[in-house]
Amino acid sequence: MSIIAAGTPAPEFTLKREDGDDFTREDLVGQTTVFVFYPFAFSPVCTDQLQIYEEALDDLKAQGATLYGVSTDPSYSQIAFKDKLGITIEQLSDFEPKGDTAKKFGAYFEPRGMTNRALVIVGPDGVVRWSHLADSPGDLPGVNLIFDGLTAVPA
């Protein structure tokens, strides 16, 4: 499965926000969105990843970017994970149909039935501007990759 390429309009998709509302393609319009696809809540690498990314939130916000964590965990698990980590990154659930959004973005790891470790930046026009798929789900991409990816979003 290939990660969605820069220049591709974001597909139609539905994720669940923490409050149970839908997060869809329409929510991308007017903001720069960074999707952080990660395999599992409470797993070690995902823990490090989100805690480190949390440190960059202010700088990312200053660039006009909003970060979301996306996994196939149900919202209840994601919220518990977020609370345990002491982070504020909003979580979006791809639980049912399982991994449907991740599959549309090319960010699903079929061999283990989980979200892959991937980053996708969507511009305010709803077009994917940058994407990154880790060589392995166990690899942790530095947040500097997001910094550089944001330069691909037209001002």
Partner: protein, 150 residues
């Protein structure tokens, strides 16, 4: 704000905390004083007599004491006791609350009133943020994050 792009860790600065022999490339140690792995690595480097530059990678989501401890060490640095305080924290990770810091101040001969005032100085908080941002720009993904060195 510094430009938000990837960048190598900055070269040695005037205000860096450095110890070890003057010759040879330094190891830039981005660490967190609430991190046990950092303690092990820092004490190992001390044992080796390595040339080390300490910079902060204090992750507030990792440990609620990470940033307060970073500020405490910087406050000690203003009284010329950075490395003494650094070692005192890493040698005893079980005592990192404020009363334990005050006890260290007393043991190391620090002026406690000055320490208390200095660790609330926004300039120190900015220094810690600067170091953390540098580590993020360099792609650090763990604590401690080591760059350079031999």
């Amino acid at each position: 704000m510094t430009e938000l792009r990837s960048a190598p860790v900055p070269p040695l600065r005037e205000d860096d905390h450095v110890r070890g022999p003057d010759d040879g490339p330094p190891t830039f140690f981005y660490g967190d004083f609430a991190c046990p792995r950092c303690a092990v690595e820092a004490l190992r480097l001390r044992e080796q007599g390595a040339r080390v530059v300490f910079r902060h990678f204090a992750l507030k989501a990792k440990h609620e004491r990470a940033v307060p401890l970073a500020l405490a060490v910087e406050a000690a640095a203003r009284q010329g006791r950075f490395w003494a305080f650094h070692d005192a924290l890493y040698e005893d990770q079980g005592r990192i609350d404020d009363p334990h810091l005050w006890a260290r101040c007393e043991r190391l001969g620090l002026d406690l009133d000055r320490f208390e005032a200095d660790r609330r100085d926004p300039a120190l908080a900015e220094r810690v943020r600067r170091d953390v941002r540098d580590a993020l720009r360099a792609g650090a993904t763990t604590t401690p994050a080591l760059f350079g060195g031999s």
